[in-house]
Amino acid sequence: MDTMVKNKAISKEFDVESIRKEFPILSVKVHGRPLVYFDNAASSQKPLFVIKAIEKYYETVNSNVHRGVHHLSSLATDQFEAARKTIATHINANIDEVIFTRGTTEAINLVAYSFGEVFVKEGDEIIISHMEHHSNIVPWQILCQRKKAVLKVIPITESGELRMDEYKKLLSSKTKLVAVAHVSNSLGTINPVEEIIALAHAKNIPVLLDGAQAVPHMKIDVKKLDVDFYCFSGHKIYAPTGIGILFGKEKWLKQMVPFQSGGEMIKEVKLEASTYQDPPLRFEAGTPHIEGSIVLATAIDYMNNIGLDAIAKQEQKLLDYATEKLSAINGLKIVGQAKHKAPVVAFNIEGLHPYDVGVILDQLGIAVRTGHHCTQPIMDLYGIPGTVRASFSFYNTIEEIDVLVAGVKKAIDMLKK
């Protein structure tokens, strides 16, 4: 029995080497060196499980959905709707509350338009935070311009956490929506979303969470969160680009006007006027990204096969190790030192431009992102031109972090000569 228990324990241990073999791109060479891919917050790599599912779709299923009585069309429709079910189950949503979009950006734009059109009027307020990605800033700016509404911003601390005291002060009878990141893409901060939602709901204000950086790393339960809108992108969770999800509570969705219009979203079209489908179809005009939708569900299956707990544990290990080793480098300052963080380490080296560091790291085969990471207001606040950002996935290794640390030291040697 002891042996059995032991074997079970071993099989449960995270086998990163076998997992890496499932991601063909991880074995490519860059500038003659093994690729170290630390740009996962920008986009994740794809396992064979996903790549093969794309092939299989075009080889055996490809057809348009929701029309035609022919075999392939009904097969494609079945798989498309089955994918919606898988995704709904994954985030604990009702199936009619899951809308396919092009990605997080389109999901936020959809809410900004379709919710804003109905619920936001002159003098109303929308609350965002200082740590938002541009895609959770600009759609609200445009809505506010259109409706003569006011954008309010929750300030952040030096360590990269939301000023909850200030947030409480911003909530008022004029607030029509709170839209904040679940996890910051440039700082890694995991925001206290339960508290954010509870405070807003106490005043009957709905909350949208930009979950693009959260979904890769943790279990999301929209019912437990009691969140009103939740957005995320497929390509950050091992699925293709061009597909994403908007979750919206039915009570909001059914009151919202269409975002785009055309085929698929109509009930009846007369030349004088048309009637629209109920959600979610009301918000899915035109032929959707059928393959992307189906394969997004495949990618979610893949993540669940590994296990979200196992993923979180491995990524925490990488984050802790990288934070420790990078912090030990003389002159290196980690930007974003919140207590709760996703596996993102952004940093700057005293006297060096992040661009220079990024160019040297690239020559060493290390893929990091440098720049403002589409969060210019954060960089302005901290008075820096940008950061070097290493972001990890469960397929990364401790050895790769050692390569990064050595690379950073080499960059410092070269640039500080």
């Binding site: 500038h31 220079d356 040297i360 720049g371 031109p385 070269m414």
Partner: protein, 140 residues
């Protein structure tokens, strides 16, 4: 020295290096020799906007020849800028307009020219050409 000669000279210098580190160290060194732009010109009008690193460029015409001063907040970008300035400074608008800048490819630094690399080098060359065009029109 004609532009092609200055280009060939620079390409020749880079041929001495056989690994990327030495090449980049040399680029950084070249940056230290760039004729620096006067601080008073480091304003919006003289800024060439790349996405990540800033480049400042000033040009003036003396006796029909254009001379450049420049700077950047990133060292590698500054080195690349220095190379462009070294090759083009002191030439007529006509010569600058017909320069193909192929030396960057020959040195193997073409990746820095891609607009997606966002270091401002591409935008700087475009600005130099536009300035040269303007100077040529004024001279007419």
């Amino acid at each position: 020295m004609r532009i092609e000669e200055a280009e060939a000279e620079l390409v020749g210098e880079f041929e001495l290096f056989d690994d990327w580190m030495a090449r980049y160290e040399y680029i950084i060194d070249l940056g230290k020799d760039v004729p620096l732009i006067d601080e008073k010109f480091k304003d919006e009008a003289h800024t060439i906007k790349g996405c990540q690193s800033k480049v400042w460029l000033h040009s003036e015409v003396r006796d029909g020849y254009i001379y450049y001063t420049a700077d950047s907040d990133a060292m590698i970008t500054k080195g690349l800028v220095a190379m462009v300035v070294r090759v083009l400074s002191g030439h007529t608008p006509e010569e600058i307009l017909s320069a193909d800048m192929n030396f960057i490819n020959k040195i193997g630094l073409h990746e820095h020219l891609s607009p997606t690399r966002s270091n401002g080098l591409m935008a700087m060359i475009k600005q130099i050409k536009l300035d040269a065009l303007a100077y040529r029109e004024i001279a007419k």
